[in-house]
């Protein structure tokens, strides 16, 4: 038995492999569940119910899916150029900082138009996220540093900045209006008009999710139909060929990092406008959710396709959401982690089969010519 590189990929394989990987994942998990004394069928039924079919489950899933839709797109945009921006996490924090700043400013100036809030918050978040992503971008383009390291390290800087703004300073973001707020640090509440609208009644769709879908469409057009995406494709495949063809590699690195950071930043704005309505500086709050890192997994599972990112974000969102529901006295949270891990492991492992194939070789047949000669 050996692994061989595939010379071509049949079209059906890109559907069959992810589906097959999921089947394998659930089979493996079924064994683990049975061994730990849980009924696999019952558990899976609960997951589907809690994540998707139950009362209000889809609404909760969309809340989980929204931030990882943004970070997933952010990762996909950069990874398609072989630019490994691991910094969506920090870029999302910066987006949240920017969005909350503009919302508080507008509140101070008695702006009441929600659409104005939405546009301004997205713009500020995108700008700040892009700037944050440009730090590793500039370093990569002009000093050839490894963007994986720099963008990852900046996540910690961004996290500490977030904590500092609320916990260790009397910043503009911190609520110091009451004695209680002064002793238990928290962010200022946003003005009511800055709360983003939701849509639908039986299933509540947050505005952020819709903005995420729109962003996915924009990314698709940009990457599949425009010169921008063509250049990204060439640079991803062969930087030398891109230079040879007269493409401006440095500019493109900056543009792609900025785009990636901007999308992650808007994810931060959506957190403020859609869900938290305040800047959450706690190390156990926004920072513990690890949306940026989950986004990388989402992008990888979606094979960097923006539409697939939407789908995978909802699936992973449902899984995360079901995880919260499943946890209880008879179902430890560790098991939920194991389950999510196995699904990811199988899905990513399946990738290997897309690019390679297993060949099972029959025992060596003895060559009659050689036999006769010897």
């Amino acid at each position: 038995m050996k692994l061989e590189r595939r010379l071509s990929q049949p079209w059906w394989l890109s559907v069959a492999v992810p589906v097959g990987s999921l089947v394998v994942a659930f089979a493996v998990m079924g064994v683990i569940l049975a061994l730990t004394g849980h009924d696999p069928g019952e558990t899976y039924r609960k997951i589907v119910e809690a994540g998707f079919t139950g009362n209000g489950a889809l609404s909760a899933t969309l809340i989980s899916a929204t931030p990882i839709l943004f970070t997933g797109l952010a990762a996909a945009v950069a990874f398609r150029m072989q630019l490994f921006n691991i910094g969506a996490e920090g870029q999302l924090y910066l987006g949240a900082i920017g969005a909350s700043w503009i919302a508080l400013q507008f509140g101070d100036r008695d702006v009441t138009s929600t659409p104005l809030f939405v546009v301004a918050m997205c713009a500020a978040a995108a700008a700040l996220g892009a700037l944050w992503a440009l730090i590793p971008g500039v370093l990569r383009a002009f000093a050839r540093t490894n963007e994986i390291i720099t963008s990852l390290m900046l996540n910690y800087v961004a996290g500490l900045l977030l904590t500092y703004l609320i916990f260790d300073s009397s910043s503009y973001w911190r609520d110091t209006s009451t004695l209680q707020a002064r002793s238990f640090p928290q962010g200022k509440p946003m003005p009511d008009a800055s709360n983003w609208p939701t849509f639908g009644s039986s299933v509540v769709v947050p505005l952020g999710f819709l903005i995420g879908l729109a962003a996915a469409l924009v990314v698709w057009v940009l990457y599949s139909r425009m010169r921008f995406g063509f250049e990204v494709g060439v640079m991803a495949d062969s930087p030398r060929a891109a230079r040879y063809a007269g493409m401006r590699t440095r500019r493109k690195i900056l543009a792609v990092m900025a785009l990636s950071g901007a999308i992650a930043g808007i994810g931060g704005a959506s957190q403020i406008g859609d869900f938290t309505y305040t800047l959450d500086g706690s190390p156990t709050g926004l920072q513990a959710a690890a949306f940026g890192y989950t986004g990388i997994v989402v992008a990888a599972l979606a094979r960097y396709n923006p539409f697939a990112v939407c789908l995978v974000a909802v699936l992973i969102g449902g899984l995360l959401n079901a995880g919260y529901t499943l946890q209880g006295p008879d179902f430890p949270s560790g098991l939920v982690g194991v389950m999510q891990g196995i699904i990811l492991f199988c899905a990513l492992g399946g990738e290997l089969l897309l690019r390679y194939r297993l060949r099972i070789r029959r025992p060596r047949t003895v060559n009659p010519v050689a036999e006769a000669a010897s």
Partner: protein, 528 residues
């Protein structure tokens, strides 16, 4: 896996004179080796006697290198047997082959650059000197000196590898084999890095080794070399053995026919100077270009090329040809000097400026620089022109017109591909080169920079590429041709520049230049 004896030990070491009674030094029968999608060796049989220089002749892709890699234990054959001096062997690793007395000098040398010659020679000699905890450097150096004298391989055993020329490094590789008392030496395309004179010296060394009863297997696709050095020639074609013939009665024409499988013309130098206009398309003046490590790779080079002229740059590999080509095409920054295309000065280090000025470039590294391997034929065809008005509407791509352009080039330049959507990585070398040439010609360039246009191509593709280049010149394109193949330069160029250590050391009209004359200049103008 069966009944094979894992015998690697060859008991008898007495290499006798050439005789019919003795079994051949090497006998390979029915060797088959498959790679994914490729049958590299298909039942190849090969026999070489002690005391002969045996050439393995074949085009690129005929299976020569695969066969020698099997003989040196780098690959294991899927089927077939190897016998050495009549004893069946089975190699499990390159070390087994070394122990059996087989050494190979690869095209790309396996030397440790910061080490001295003597250190490189003992390196990997796990039976003798190399096993000692403390190296007896003086003893090794003395032994190396003895060997180099006996075989005419002049090299200083104390010198570090990085200080040596490519030709000297090759001698170190041969010394390594001699030091290990190899009885079978395989040389893979050894003359690509040598001047014709150096090649002659090498042939002398190989002859000496053969006269002592060693077996030399000489891999090449150059007919006249094979004729010059070999006793017998085994011809491979398409992974199969065609035949084995004696070298002496064979003619270049008969060998070529065996190698290619059909009648071909052996390339002849241009006999008559063509009439050329006086318009200078490319003017290079005092050009100095840094190499990859910041050293001066091209040193104050000046020349010009007229409309429709082909100027060939001859030189031993690594004397600045690549850097010169990259500088003219904007791929590499220039340190000083100027490049002018049709009277307009080019901005250095800016490929886009060069493209806009009308410089087309066929790079040495086709797949990776000239083409993006995973992208489709279509994407690669428009890789330079996607931003022009005919192929995009504003920032949007005109996908259908891109595809039509690709189909046009595929048809006009006879590129064999399953379709315009196929990743170019799946195309053969000849078709890749046709694709690159087709794309570069499509823009009506003024200047064409071509580096190693036929390296790795089979004879049919070489003929096609040459005819495309001649056609382009006939249409008035000024062509700067870099090639390590002197025959190619002589067959195509109107004028030959010889480059040595980054400087142009000679300029000759193609018609009257002799190989000896060019070779002498390639070696820096001094006889060694």
């Amino acid at each position: 896996m069966g009944e094979q004896v894992p015998a690697t030990a060859v008991t008898e070491r007495g290499a006798g004179p050439l005789g019919a009674s003795l079994p051949p030094a090497v006998r390979m029968t029915g060797i088959t080796k498959r790679f994914p999608g490729v049958l590299a060796n298909d039942g190849v049989s090969f026999e070489a006697a002690s005391g002969e220089v045996h050439a393995l002749l074949g085009e690129n892709g005929a299976g020569k290198t695969t066969l020698s890699n099997i003989l040196t234990g780098l690959y294991r054959q899927d089927e077939g047997e190897i016998e050495l001096w009549g004893e069946r062997v089975r190699f499990h690793s390159p070390r087994d082959a070394l122990d059996a007395g087989i050494c190979m000098v690869h095209q790309h040398f396996r030397l440790v650059e910061p080490f001295s010659v003597a250190e490189n020679v003992v390196l990997g000699d796990h039976r003798g000197e190399g096993r000692r905890v403390l190296l007896r450097t003086a003893a090794t150096e003395q032994r190396v000196d003895e060997l180099s004298e006996r075989y005419g391989l002049a090299v200083n055993p104390k010198a570090k590898i990085w200080q040596l020329s490519i030709g000297e490094q090759q001698r170190v590789e041969i010394l390594k084999a001699l030091y290990r008392e190899a009885r079978i030496l395989i040389m893979d395309e050894p003359t690509a890095v040598l001047t014709p004179q150096e090649a002659d010296t090498l042939f002398g060394t190989l002859r000496t080794m053969a006269d002592e009863g060693k077996t030399v297997i000489f891999i090449s696709h150059k007919l006249h070399e094979v004729k010059a050095v070999a006793d017998r020639v085994t011809v491979l074609r398409g992974g199969r053995t065609v035949t084995t013939v004696d070298a002496a009665p064979a003619t270049l024409q008969s060998l070529a026919t065996l190698m290619v499988g059909r009648e071909i013309e052996v390339a002849k130098p241009l006999e008559q100077a063509r009439q050329l206009s006086d318009v200078r398309m490319l003017e290079v003046d005092g050009l100095t270009v840094p190499g990859d490590r910041g050293e001066t790779a091209v040193d104050g080079v000046s020349f010009s090329i007229r409309e429709g002229e082909i100027v060939g740059v001859a030189g031993v590999a690594g004397n600045g040809q690549r850097e010169l080509a990259e500088a003219v095409s904007g791929m590499r920054d220039i340190r000083s000097g100027s490049i002018q295309v049709a009277g307009r000065r080019l901005r250095g280090g800016d490929p886009r400026a060069a493209i806009l000025a009308g410089v087309a470039h066929v790079p040495e590294d086709r797949l990776g620089t000239g083409l993006a391997p995973s992208l489709s034929v279509t994407s690669n065809v428009v890789i330079k022109t996607y931003r022009t008005r005919s192929l995009s509407r504003g920032p949007l791509l005109a996908l259908r017109r891109m595809r039509e352009t690709a189909v046009g080039i595929i048809g006009r330049y006879d590129v064999k591909t399953p379709g315009p959507g196929t990743p170019v990585r799946n195309l053969s070398g000849g078709n890749l080169q046709k694709l690159v040439l087709g794309r570069e010609f499509a823009d009506d360039p003024l200047v064409l920079v071509v580096a190693q246009p036929t390296r790795g191509l089979d004879v049919g593709a070489i003929e096609t590429v040459h005819s495309y280049l001649r056609d382009a010149a006939a249409k008035g394109v000024a062509i700067l041709l870099m090639s390590e193949d002197l025959d190619e330069i002589r067959a195509l160029a109107d004028r030959i520049l010889v480059i040595y250590e980054g400087s142009i050391v000679g300029e000759l009209p193609a018609g009257s230049a002799s190989v000896e004359e060019i070779g002498l200049l390639m070696a820096g103008g001094t006889r060694e």
